[in-house]
Amino acid sequence: MQVADQAVSLPVRRASAWERLLASDHLAGWGFTSPAMILIAVFGVAPIAWSVVLSFQRNNLLSGGTWIGFRNYERLMHDPVFAHSVRITVLYTVLFVPISIVLSLAVAVALNRKLWFIRLYRTAIFLPVVASTVAEAILFNWLLDPYFGIVNVALVKLGLPAQSFFQDPSQALFCIVAMTVWGWLGFCVIIYLAALQGIPRELIEAAEIDGATHWRSFQRVQLPLLGPTTLFLVIYLSINALQLFDEIYVTTRGGPLGATTVVVYYLYEQAFQFFEAGYATAIAYVLFLGILALTVVQLLLGRRFVHYRS
């Protein structure tokens, strides 16, 4: 027995536990992931856990908070300003997302061909992608300035009445929509163009040989094939629309008369002007739930209407 055992174990010495650990992926795996995971734990996981606690506290960011249970959420349900901000945000999203989708699809289809000046067109349309939201907002503050802005100067010269734009409660939100559509159009066009490039030319040619008009082949061939891209853009744009903040801060600060107080702007006010950090975090959680619910609904609708090529 002993002899036989030795005969087996001597030539192939069994690796020690340490050597086996080194040879396996466990150490390397954690060695590779731990820098990222430590950062994500500190700046991702810990804040998420902390924010849950915070939303059940009254907290002014300076002293430790006091536990008040669900009172932040109760207050939220009876807060008319919050309800108003939700309505404003939904209205903005309902306008911004469809306009961006339709417009960018049209532009992408138009750009997807060989034309004179095509490079110029593409550069002009893509350029706002790199403009910062702050620069974009300052630019539109100037264009839409009620007194000296070029848009009003043009309106007056054409014999039309001057408008107040960002300073008119009934116009401000629409100006925000127009401005952000301008800012996002290039991104959406880039995404659609890439998807259009992925459609095999033979499919479109086959449809046209079968007698389909350009419009018909677009409707029946290209549009369905763009379904997954449209779904992605609808979800992505909706998530961003519900989180609108920068442009509001730089143009209207939620005004005039609360006409553009979107949810995140209200949240910002609560946290950093009234120092209601607990209440602000509760707002953030409701926003999160809203985003999550909308995304799930969009995905489910997408599953029904969008067809994926295998």
Partner: protein, 302 residues
């Protein structure tokens, strides 16, 4: 989105390549010669409207205020270069530019290194807790910034980083989306090359750096460009962690500059133009990379 998450992102341009517009020129060229087209009637006004705000920013920045009130717009009689000098002396634009550059470079470098390491391990190595780590990353990916904003502020404050560039850099050294994106691309690469390198005695790090990453140029560029755009344009986070003018980045500085010189439009436009110029130049020079990088970010999800 209906596909299981683990299914690797399949890429028509081959492993690690761009799915996007690479073939655009060739394909369009194949479609026939340029000829007059009704599409110009749609594209020319659209392009003009899209470009007009930039053109008007440029014109205003070299005009006097009186000259900007004429319609139809005219070029200024004399180019008012001093608007730029005025903006530069009224606010520390050089400092803001330097700060933004430092934050952008640090964030891009951090993301390239940490997301590559983590993405590779999560794609290739089987280790205890690997799946849990991946799930945690996916979970943090979904939570909007506003939820974690205030606790992150408190954490950064307890680290003594508040009102310093550290507050802008450290939390942005790694992004869950970068890890996720790179992991999906690592999964598309053939594993045989790596196995061969390992058998030849290369270490894991050596394999990653010398064999794997060279095949990942396109997705790495995507991570770099998306981080760059983020770092250059982010506003809300700097707004809540930075107070001192000399620690501000360009977007935050610009918004305070607007608050201080609200009616001085030529100077304000000169400042805005200066703050956007670096990125606009980079974009015009590297348009192809920008365009392809942004389209990759949709391919990974769609």
């Amino acid at each position: 989105m209906t596909e299981p998450l683990d299914k690797p992102f399949t890429d028509p341009a081959g492993p690690g390549g761009f799915p996007g517009l690479d073939s655009l020129e060739a394909e369009i060229a194949a479609a026939g010669r340029r000829r007059p087209s009704a599409w110009h009637l749609f594209l020319a006004p659209t392009a003009a409207i899209m470009a007009f705000p930039f053109v008007w920013m440029l014109v205003t920045s070299v005009s006097t205020l009186a000259e900007t009130r004429r319609f139809p717009p005219q070029l200024p009689h004399a180019i008012q270069w001093h608007n730029f000098v005025d903006a530069w002396t009224m606010a520390p634009f050089d400092r803001w530019l330097l700060n933004t550059t430092v934050v952008a470079i640090a964030s891009v470098a951090g993301n390239l290194v940490f997301c590559s390491l983590a993405g590779y391990a999560l794609a290739r190595l089987r280790f205890i807790g690997g799946n849990v780590a991946f799930l945690v990353i996916l979970a943090t990916l979904m939570v909007p910034f506003q939820v974690v904003m205030i606790p992150t502020l408190l954490i950064v404050r307890s680290m003594g980083l508040i009102d310093s560039l550290g507050a802008l850099i450290v939390p942005n050294l790694v992004t869950p989306f970068g890890i996720f994106l790179l992991r999906q691309f690592f999964k598309t690469l053939p594993v045989e090359i790596e196995e061969a390198a390992r058998i030849d005695g290369a270490s894991r790090v050596g394999t990653l750096v010398k064999v794997v990453l060279p095949q990942m140029k396109a997705p790495l560029a995507t991570v770099a460009i998306m981080t760059l755009l983020w770092a250059w344009n982010d506003f809300l986070w700097p707004l809540i962690v930075i107070q001192s003018p000399d620690q501000m980045t360009l977007p935050l500085g610009l918004s305070t500059f607007q608050g201080a010189h609200f009616t001085n439009w030529p100077v304000l436009m000169a400042g805005t133009l200066m703050s956007q110029l670096p990125m606009l130049v980079v974009f015009v020079v590297a348009q192809r990379w920008f365009v392809q990088s942004l389209s990759v970010s949709s391919g990974i999800k769609g």
